[in-house]
Subunit: 405 residues, 4 copies
Amino acid sequence: MHATTGTSPRIGVWMIGARGSVATAATAGAAAISAGSASSDGCVTDLPPFRDASLPALADLVFGGHDIVGVPLPARAGQLAEAGVLPAGILDTVRAPLAAADREIRDGAGREGEPQAAAAARLAADITSFRDRHGLEQVVVVNVSSTEPLPDPDPAFLDLDTLEEALATSTDLLPASSLYAYAAFQAGCAYVNFTPSAGASLPALEQLARRRGVPHAGRDGKTGETLVKSALAPMFTQRALRLRSWSGTNLLGGGDGATLEDPRAARSKTESKQRSLEETVGHAVEGQVHIDNVPEMGEWKTAWDHISFQGFLGVRMSMQFTWVGCDSALAAPLVLDLVRLAALARRRGEAGALPALGFFFKDPAGSREHNLTLQYEALTRWATAEAPETGAAAANSPASTGASR
Amino acid sequence: MHATTGTSPRIGVWMIGARGSVATAATAGAAAISAGSASSDGCVTDLPPFRDASLPALADLVFGGHDIVGVPLPARAGQLAEAGVLPAGILDTVRAPLAAADREIRDGAGREGEPQAAAAARLAADITSFRDRHGLEQVVVVNVSSTEPLPDPDPAFLDLDTLEEALATSTDLLPASSLYAYAAFQAGCAYVNFTPSAGASLPALEQLARRRGVPHAGRDGKTGETLVKSALAPMFTQRALRLRSWSGTNLLGGGDGATLEDPRAARSKTESKQRSLEETVGHAVEGQVHIDNVPEMGEWKTAWDHISFQGFLGVRMSMQFTWVGCDSALAAPLVLDLVRLAALARRRGEAGALPALGFFFKDPAGSREHNLTLQYEALTRWATAEAPETGAAAANSPASTGASR
Amino acid sequence: MHATTGTSPRIGVWMIGARGSVATAATAGAAAISAGSASSDGCVTDLPPFRDASLPALADLVFGGHDIVGVPLPARAGQLAEAGVLPAGILDTVRAPLAAADREIRDGAGREGEPQAAAAARLAADITSFRDRHGLEQVVVVNVSSTEPLPDPDPAFLDLDTLEEALATSTDLLPASSLYAYAAFQAGCAYVNFTPSAGASLPALEQLARRRGVPHAGRDGKTGETLVKSALAPMFTQRALRLRSWSGTNLLGGGDGATLEDPRAARSKTESKQRSLEETVGHAVEGQVHIDNVPEMGEWKTAWDHISFQGFLGVRMSMQFTWVGCDSALAAPLVLDLVRLAALARRRGEAGALPALGFFFKDPAGSREHNLTLQYEALTRWATAEAPETGAAAANSPASTGASR
Amino acid sequence: MHATTGTSPRIGVWMIGARGSVATAATAGAAAISAGSASSDGCVTDLPPFRDASLPALADLVFGGHDIVGVPLPARAGQLAEAGVLPAGILDTVRAPLAAADREIRDGAGREGEPQAAAAARLAADITSFRDRHGLEQVVVVNVSSTEPLPDPDPAFLDLDTLEEALATSTDLLPASSLYAYAAFQAGCAYVNFTPSAGASLPALEQLARRRGVPHAGRDGKTGETLVKSALAPMFTQRALRLRSWSGTNLLGGGDGATLEDPRAARSKTESKQRSLEETVGHAVEGQVHIDNVPEMGEWKTAWDHISFQGFLGVRMSMQFTWVGCDSALAAPLVLDLVRLAALARRRGEAGALPALGFFFKDPAGSREHNLTLQYEALTRWATAEAPETGAAAANSPASTGASR
């Protein structure tokens, strides 16, 4: 099913944080599944409802990206196998594809004193060079790097012209995730933000995406506690059970644990977790969310949530859940799903935020729906639609000539 | 909102097990809410989407029923207040309405050697007498009595004529819950089965309901572990996470705990719990469900579920939840919802099983949908529809003249 | 068993925070148990091993104390009954005893500009006046007030003479809990610190206790998560299972929740929680402890702990526990136990910290033993010893003449 | 520390079930630790209090045993590494020692029509041949085979002479675990029963052990839920918190899960679990214990316990714990501990049940103490005692000549 015909157009996947755990697992997994060495468990777009969607095959994806970490992908895969994220049995199969992808990784680091307009042009050139070198139909840019602190508000974020003027001289106006979104759009690429960082969420960048006729999706992949929340919270509202408090503690190690120990970085994450809950139930709910760095837990996360609610005649009841998951293993297949779906949107000429992809995110761009089942219904409807539901076809988009439909 | 106008038609609620915990809580709660002494938390049909449905007001419900227990309703309410099911503060308010309802309770016990046809006629007469005495538009019969063992298969269950012939002489062919359904249909009443007992699920009774033009709904109210299951299980399928095992233990006291200690009675319950899971995910899942009688827990139940699943590249993960609930407090508002909705169906002339009410049940009659959100969507669509979606209007139904639409 | 003979010497209980939840529950409970209206569940000193200890009867306790809260004890008891801390059935029985205790409560608030030496003399006079007015053998002073921030180190805390010199003029050197300890010792009374506040833990106050020949015990009653820790942590060390991390989240409302929301106050509590664990296992353990204020939880607390450990050949395993408790109901009987035991120590003439009472505390004065069973063994040995084990009899202690042994 | 001197006497370890998970892990672990490739985490007798006990070194243990399973030990170790019980990194180190141990495994299967006296002689000959072939000081026989159903009572179990008379002709009087105990004693060997099977618990076998001057210990290794119980239950009694119910569910796969699916085999296990609890708290406690076979869990076990208790003035509270453990990894080091301790007892000439080893067992032979800390104290006292505490030195015991003390 995943074999490429050799004639189907190939799609580039340009990952920001290309040697991180998620990117390594996604790259290794795409190779293992394409080779028939692993099942596609965890890949949403391989489920029956997506059979009729015109999605690129995993075997047609070509991987590259930016990273400043030096450990090459085959070595990172070995580390992940020791941590239980990848099965040791696929390491031989994926060594060559990982080495190939590793050769396409560029150092994306900022340069001392370089204005951000110049930096963006440099990053965009890396991406278009990758596209041209491999004869790709299009490239999807995916942010899977470490969570950044959210930037303070700035008027330049609200208007594209103001922003572009500022970038000509400023060296630090945009956070890295937004600079990459800017570069992706300039290169005519779809952009996916799997992290809670700002990314393409600034209004000025939405303007740019629409002007360039490229789509984007984000933000903050819904892989654990919030995923469960978005399945459970509607139960309380549908049953008229009033939520009194919802408290959560997340224990995690790995890079994410260390990053989120910084309260400024954690804020963007805990805020989007709470927002989705309150938007679902329609009123404020007591309770806090903690993210603890527990280094010994490595790539694994344990979350505990306590929910207190009130039913008939005010009787108080409670429920709790614990979630023991491996974040990289949960995120990696969703990254592949998002690449396939963003490529489809690009082919269709959709521009701007893709609300139908809200299913994947804690803080869905262009949507306030958090009910997982309704998100799933919207996603499958969109993916299998004959014609684009949102946005007009951008006929003069440079990439649209490669659209296969 | 809940005050009756004095001119709106009144609806009878005839409960089988009318002095049980659920019936007592429902009767007391309807009185307390109507009097403005309690909020309608837990009542689904009071949620905004139901505002446009033509449902009877709680204040228009008149309560009665069958029971062989002798403790009168006001005394039962006192017991429930001590157990934390009812707030002590409403006891004064509900004393008179409970006493009134208690006067409408008849001893429904079988008589030695009485053929079931005669018994059904006697029970139906109790119901029609109640209707006539109070000038009710219609009566909804609700089974909230103890769970029975499921009957062994019998050819008479499959055909109405065969059944009626057999009832003329047999004294024990039908289990009590099904005999009540038979009597309700004969009396032209809607029937709701909140228990896992057979009730109206026999094909011969479905024939009778359609012939008489009356609706029914059931079975096995979804109030705890299975409610959570129907919210959570779709998350795994939508995310392509393969369920490996789902194990559950339910600790409960009260009458239910004692009844379900009998493995034959528990079987009907644990089977419907497992069926709904496997119908949702589409394949067999390892794991058992236990129901333990722990008398000291009284009216409260604690459930623990352990779920093991597999994601990308076969990585195994798990989640657990615990649920601490008061079954009577969860069931009582749903009984009121079901009465209002069944009365609406009866007014509309719908006949036979009501699949749109599957939202409330573990083993929904006429439906195999278990996804809670999709059930909720179907329910609200049905309740607010202009015209009946299922069944033809039964123009010559004796109760249809009272329909308010 | 609890009836007083009328001739046995009576013991005063002077509570700092006398109208708080713990004090109210302790006072009401002592009355209810003495009246035969409640069992002595939760009272350690009523267990069989203490039968031979010469402890005062509950019925011989006379209650009073300091508080700045105005709500009288009978009204506070009503609030606690609504919160599920006290059974409604004892309210009639305890109304008169609570009213009597309430008449013995004085406003202990500091006075603008009053040097602490003068304040202490005033507080001590309140206590001795209480003793004389009721002809009490002795008074035990118990701190059950809100947790204070820990004071910054000060040289005066290390030496009694320096301290007394400073108190003559300073208006804020000692935190309130320590000022009360100072006053208690000056009045010749035993002092028990049930809170994590500094209390008698300053070396200068230990000197004073020994000079005056009075005992003290503390600090931070072990009633929930840490109680479980002190039972569980030894299991890991005894089985050579290496603890990797121990993380905890405590959700609580009530006054305690609000107080501990202040990180400075919480620090004294979370620090003593971690210290006891690391002292038990002998090495640093990863993990954090959170105390969340969740007002809707009222007097109830839910704690969740996650423990990760490593066994044979490095295999990693985990356990979790949740604890749903009512802190006041857990603390109140221990306060009565501590009064009885401190009175015994005073009778025996023991002076200074009482390490044998470490069983009750997170941060036991005079001991680093945290294994609950070893603490229990030490306690029962001490309580039933024929002669004092620690400290010399203080023959010239004013209260020792009343000793019954 | 674990290196043998080459001159110290070597000790045989004869395992019944020598190719099972526990035996494989113990044999591999002893080799890995002796080689310095693994730490001794999980080995109780390597803790500081045992430094002065004269215990044999792990490097002085020589492994063999009976099993009817054909998969050789090195292959079994490979399976356990895949299941996460053994680290893959030690497989090379332990291959040769495992192959050597595997050559010492004999088929212990019963022979059609063979009287049990003859079978016992044959099994004993296997053991003595092993001892002689390797010049061992002594052999400790350890039962780590699958759990058997408990036998029905029989008069022959109560008296040694009656038993021996019956064994001369009966082919199935004794369950296998007891037949092995009989054979071990006849061969002058200490016997350890790590399973819940009957083993040496029959009075007639106790007589034989005393007559032969050999010690034994058992039964049912305390490795998971019951281990936690024996640490936690004393907390409730020491704090006068009355246990109302204690319910447990154990989910496990592997061979144990399948064996315990047979209710007759499970009975011996669930009974000993409940007994230890009720012996600890001194009264009956509501609640059931379930053992579910969930094959997909493999070697891992998840247990959930729910505890309901009552405190001051009858307030009801609860706690829960979950335990995620690998039974083989928990049991294997204890097997090594028990071998070392039983060898010490044999050297000292102690005969009959060893109550000081109750620390390791759910149903300790010769003791009713279940408090884990008190058991640990008793164990360390016994292990470091100068002279035997129990039993007289059996001067004429054939093995005592090799005693090193």
